[in-house]
């Protein structure tokens, strides 16, 4: 469990995090989502006691991080894949980290196996790829078998297999009842991993809700339709127009249609002899919800989700006209 209350961080007069409060619950994967520079890493560094908050407080499992007697057994964090001396081997790095808590060699070997670092464990970290660095950071985070796991951009630099591995790991850690707090600037990643989302933009929380709630708030699925000409697109737009249907012209010959099934679109195209060269159901609506949420953070001062949904709905309607 992570609880932040009124956290503020100001760097040299510039606010990085502005009065944010949130709770990260155990037994779930909570995504911490926001564009680069939104304040995700700063918040995570404050959780881990590396940066002192300018105001407010944050506790992990009931205590400020630095007050824990065995912090690595409470919280494991990957804050930065490069928080390792480049001239030391991965094995020795983990051994030194483990030694601070009297964690034995057995556990060090276990996390090396778990993270798939076996083949490179005795190599200098300086020669690691970004992906291997991430795995080493995750290995270090898991050393103390902690109740709470914090991972800052864990899939950065990982290959598809690695991404899947992180996803499975995060889900299984949460299934064991642990608190899992995962940051990313990619909504697509979060949509497949997280149960709950905290969205941050310009240092403020702009949404704090379950993935399903945010999806519901975004509204209907859409279909991308590409025709071979602007004329065809116009013809099709006329044919599809009707109550509850919104059509956005993205570029010449390219439409985004919602409120009508792809099959019906194809049917209409056939009837009007419009050549359709692409018909794609757009699944990434969470990504769009995120873009809508972060497009103009200034409009949303609070985490009041219902208000945001109204705004999104209004925005969609306006775009459809």
């Amino acid at each position: 469990m992570i609880e932040a209350q009124g956290l503020v961080k100001v760097y040299g007069g510039k606010p990085a995090v502005q009065d944010i409060s949130f709770t990260v619950q155990p037994g779930k994967v909570t995504g911490f989502l926001g564009p680069n520079g939104a304040g995700k890493s700063t918040t995570m560094r404050m959780i881990m006691g590396l940066d002192a908050p300018t105001a407010g407080r944050v506790t992990v499992n009931g205590l400020p991080y630095a007050r824990h007697k065995a912090p690595l057994r409470q919280v494991g964090a990957l804050l930065d894949a490069k928080a390792v001396h480049t001239s030391r081997s991965a094995y020795h790095h983990l051994r030194a980290m483990a030694a601070t808590h009297g964690i034995g060699r057995k556990r060090v070997h276990d996390v090396i196996e778990l993270t798939g670092l076996g083949a490179v464990a005795n190599k200098r970290v300086g020669g690691f790829s970004l992906g291997m660095g991430q795995r080493l950071g995750i290995a270090a985070a898991l050393l103390g078998d902690p109740q709470t796991v914090i991972l800052d951009e864990p899939v950065n630099g990982l290959d598809p297999e690695g991404v899947l591995w992180v996803r499975t790991l995060a889900r299984s850690l949460a299934a064991e009842g642990r608190t899992v707090f995962l940051s990313s600037h990619l909504m697509s990643e979060m949509s497949q991993t997280a149960d709950h989302l905290i969205v941050i933009g310009r240092g403020r929380i702009i949404a704090d809700a379950s993935v399903q709630e945010i999806l519901d708030g975004r509204g209907r699925a859409r279909t991308r339709v590409r025709t071979d000409s602007a004329e065809g697109a116009n013809l099709l737009t006329g044919a599809l127009a009707g109550p509850g249907v919104t059509i956005e012209a993205r570029e010449a010959g390219l439409l985004e249609v919602s409120g009508i099934e792809p099959r019906a679109i194809a049917q209409a195209a056939l009837e009007h002899r419009v050549l359709v060269c692409e018909l794609t159901p757009l699944q990434a609506s969470l990504e769009e919800a995120y873009l809508d949420l972060t497009r103009d953070e200034v409009e949303y001062h609070s985490g009041d989700l219902s208000g945001i949904h109204d705004d999104i709905a209004a925005g969609t309607a306006a775009a459809g006209k």
């Binding site: 037994g27 590396l50 630095a66 390792v84 030194a96 030694a99 556990r107 276990d110 499975t168 064991e176």
Partner: protein, 287 residues
Amino acid sequence: MSTSTVQNRPAGTPAVRPAAGSGVNFLRTLHAEWIKFTTLRSTWILLATTVVVMVGIGLLGGWGVGSGLEELAAEGQDPAAVGLDPQLLYMMTTGGIDFGQLIIGSLGVLLIASEYSTGMIRSTMTAVPDRLSPLFAKALVIALVAAVVGVVSSFATYFLMQPILAQYGQEFGLDVENLVPSMLLSGVYLALASLIALALGALMRNSAGGIVALVVLFLIVPMVLGFIQLDWIQDTLPYLPSNAGRQLLALQIADGDLTQLQGGLVMAAWSAVLLAAAAVVIKRRDV
């Protein structure tokens, strides 16, 4: 915060948690710092270089002074008349310390500054969030190692020097007054110098900056101030860390100079003040 049933456990995750109640303490932090110290190749290179340079310079000095003394004796001259003194020969057992302090001092700077430059410091301070234990554990590690290096280098210089000096009939015994204490205190001198270096590394958070600060404090400041013929500056000179610490190695103390104990305490005060400043800065600044 209940632990629900285990699902989808990735292969290799141990079901059993490590023994509870096993938290951070200073001994464990010290162990971790020792592992970190010994698992970098640069540590061994710098330690070996320190010993080789200290012994090498001592031997060269001993050879030069020893052969000079023999020539003068052959010509029937009094060495003291040309400024050559057997005391100078004895001092060569610790004659390499000027360079040795800079090399092991660099190791002291790197011990913490390289953690800042690589980002390792964030791992260190996350594992031991009181932040001061890692600093003091590092201090203990580098001070002990520097002390051993100092003593080993001095005795190695002494014993390797005797066969060279024997060719000139200038060999001397360990019973020379103050010689053994001087060789032992060379360890204390290097320990204090490396602590000052560690503190500079922590304050600068930068390897190059820390090493430059070390060279400035130990080499350039004493030299430049030595040129300035103002009384109050000349009065300050003996209290600079390297000048004060040098009294630890002295075989004879001139009237009016700091005694061995006073010199040692002045140098110890430098390291204590700089380490305290480093501790305050580490505690206050964001990592």
